[in-house]
């Protein structure tokens, strides 16, 4: 009796396990790996990734998205190994912490046969990814400069607050300078404000002490722009027609644009939602009858009062 029961149980468990693996194999498993959200933009990205996961899994019951975030490049490399060995993913969407250290780990995922989508920061070796989805850093600089040229005239003065010294910062800055050159607009000076409100505040305070005549500020980033505006208000120079151009698409800034704010009249998009775009496209690689592989570069759209509403996500932390 007992023996029979035990045998039955074993058989049942075995059947269940078999059914389980069979089920799992039917599902399209997509790993999504990105840095742990420790600053506002990344928090926005995390939010958009979670939204996309919910939406896509509802839309396609046979798609399983596995979201993993990692606090540093080392941990991200381990996370990628786990995605292959534990979850046996069919595709990977990865926003690499840094290009160099993650190139090999992603290449290993590729060797397992998985489809690879790389987001934002590229890998240091070409040809690994099937799909590349990114914002456009040079375009962000260019669009900002074009707006400046439209608003300012020959002989006007601007100051620039840059981000953290990185490739991204250089791409934005170089494109901006190239576009502004020959317009007659003077770039008085540029300093790093590290994509940070406090540094934006302090660097702008010093610019204001140093230069009596500033017509516009390119803050490059919305967090910096918030610090810049606080410094302008403190010095009482927010009323003399000066304006600030930030970048990224922070919800508070976009709300301000919708409300007709004059100090920050526009914003240049570098959307944290790009991870959602990448997840969508990756699912389409399995679901669409059209080709998906290639490069998908998002526009650095100029957000104005007219189009602001479509970039406003009040529930996102960014």
């Amino acid at each position: 009796m007992l023996m029979k029961k035990a045998l039955g149980a074993v058989a049942a468990v075995g059947l269940l396990a078999f059914a389980g693996t069979a089920l799992a194999q039917d599902k399209i498993k997509i790993g999504v790996s990105y840095p742990t959200p420790t600053h506002a933009w990344a928090a926005g990205m995390n939010w958009h990734a979670e939204q996309a996961e919910k939406r896509l899994e509802e839309l396609y019951p046979d798609v399983d998205l596995i979201l993993v975030n990692s606090p540093d490049p080392e941990a991200q490399a381990s996370a990628l190994e786990d995605l292959v060995s534990v979850h046996q993913i069919d595709a990977l969407v990865v926003l690499p912490f840094e290009s160099e250290p993650l190139t090999d780990p992603v290449l290993n995922v590729k060797k397992s046969g998985a489809w690879i989508t790389v987001v934002d920061r590229g890998l240091s070796q070409p040809g690994i990814e099937d799909l590349y989805v990114a914002g456009n850093n040079p375009e962000l600089g260019r669009v900002s400069a074009q707006y400046m040229k439209g608003r300012l005239k020959d002989g006007d003065n601007i100051v620039v607050l840059r981000g953290i010294p990185t490739v991204i910062d250089n791409e934005r800055f170089d494109a901006f300078m190239e576009e502004i050159e020959g317009s007659g607009i003077n770039v008085l000076d540029h300093k790093h404000a590290n994509w940070n409100r406090d540094d934006g505040f302090e660097v702008m305070q010093d610019f204001l002490s140093r230069f009596p005549d500033i017509d516009a500020v390119w803050a490059q980033d919305d967090d910096i722009a918030i610090g810049v505006v606080a410094a302008l208000k403190q010095a009482g120079r927010d009323g003399d027609g000066m304006f600030v151009v930030g970048g990224a698409g922070m919800k508070e800034i976009i709300k301000g644009i919708m409300d007709g704010e004059t100090l920050i009249p526009v914003d240049v998009l570098y959307p944290p939602a790009m991870i959602a775009t990448a997840m969508d496209a990756t699912v389409q690689a399995f679901k669409s009858n059209g080709p998906v592989a290639g490069r998908y570069i998002l526009g650095a759209t100029l957000i104005t009062p007219e189009n602001a509403e479509s970039y406003y996500f009040p529930d996102s932390p960014f």
């Binding site: 506002a40 990344a42 300093k191 302090e202 002490s209 918030i226 010095a235």
Partner: protein
């Protein structure tokens, strides 16, 4: 206690040129100001000097607390994270209080009160773990540093905690308004500095800190309640962090995971530049204040010039810090080892 009074009393007598130790930081600051003025006369404009003093207030106030901790032979690495966490909790509490007590002064006072309680509590935890738990201060505060930093990230959902706009209106003057030409943060800084100086130089508690820092075992045999004094130094540190946070929050009305990053190292640097000995036993509040001013002035001057590549800012800061500490060492000039 014996060793401590020996230390401070005999040193000046031995070397007449020991003044260098005291005026070294002042000299360095003066030199920086001259450089700043030469780069751009706007450096000495009233607006810029006020900005400088106000900015120094954060690090300065925290560094006054750090002077006690370091003098007593400890170290606190958690202050930057602690400031961020306190700022975050303050903002949450004030935002939640809007519905019940409105957006007026009581809400701000509630926030400030909570900040003080949190600061004292956090300091006490660091102190108790160090003394009662018998864990190295370096390890304890390294641990709490990680805890507070991740807490603020968690509270902010990875993004930024923003103060309710109407409360900002009420609270804003605390950072931006002045009294007798000096902004309030500077007054707080002066107040904390005077209290710190009196506490360290004119009370038994201050002498106990010095004694424990120079030789803990001897201090114990001299019937000093070492654990209590050491814990109190961390509580003072926590209190100072709370004061700094109270004047920090109205500046931008927000807190995020990037708030207060590396403040602990800046505070320690200010203390050391000021002449306090890192291994304990000798502390100077006046020097600490000069140290904080020096650090802020360096950043200010770097923003005032485009002569140096932006990428080398850290190099300049490092060099100036090292030179400032070299300046206050008189013994190498006399060719005498210590």
């Amino acid at each position: 206690m014996m060793t401590a009074s020996n230390d401070t009393a005999t040193k000046p007598a031995k070397r007449p040129s020991v003044d260098f130790k005291t005026i070294g930081p002042a000299l360095a600051l003066l030199l920086l100001c001259v450089i700043g003025f030469m780069l751009n006369p706007a450096f000495v404009s009233e607006g810029n000097l006020t900005n400088l003093l106000t900015r120094s207030a954060f690090i300065g106030i925290i560094a006054v607390g750090a002077t006690f901790v370091i003098t007593a032979g400890g170290i606190d690495l958690s202050v930057g994270s602690m400031a961020a966490a306190i700022a975050g909790v303050m903002i949450i509490i004030m935002n939640n209080a809007v519905e019940t007590i409105g957006t007026g002064v009581p809400t701000v006072l509630l926030g400030c009160g909570c900040a003080l309680v949190l600061g004292i509590g956090a300091g006490w935890i660091n102190g108790a773990l160090t003394t009662k738990g018998k864990i190295e201060a370096f390890i304890v505060t390294l641990g709490t540093m990680g805890i507070y930093r991740s807490l603020v990230t968690y509270f902010a959902d990875g993004g930024t905690l923003s103060l309710n706009f109407d409360i900002r209106g009420t609270y804003r003057p605390v950072y931006y308004d002045s009294f007798l030409g000096l902004p309030y943060p500077v007054w707080v800084f002066i107040g904390v500095a005077i209290c710190g100086w009196l506490l360290l130089n004119r009370t038994a508690f201050g002498r106990y800190c010095t004694a424990i820092g120079s030789n803990e075992a001897v201090a114990r045999y001299s019937a000093i309640n070492v654990d209590r004094v050491k814990t109190l130094t961390y509580v003072i540190q926590g209190l100072c962090v709370a004061f700094a946070t109270i004047i920090y929050v109205p500046r931008l009305g927000s807190a995020s995971a990037s708030t207060g990053v590396l403040w602990e190292l800046e505070a320690i640097a200010a203390v050391i530049i000021g002449g306090t000995v890192l291994k304990g036993g000798y502390g100077r509040i006046g020097g600490t204040i000069l140290g904080a001013l020096i650090l802020t002035t360096i950043g200010n001057i770097l923003n005032f010039t485009d002569l140096i590549s932006n990428y080398l800012n850290g190099t300049m800061q490092g060099l100036i810090i090292i030179v400032a500490v070299l300046l206050q060492r008189s013994d190498w000039k006399l060719g005498k080892g210590k």
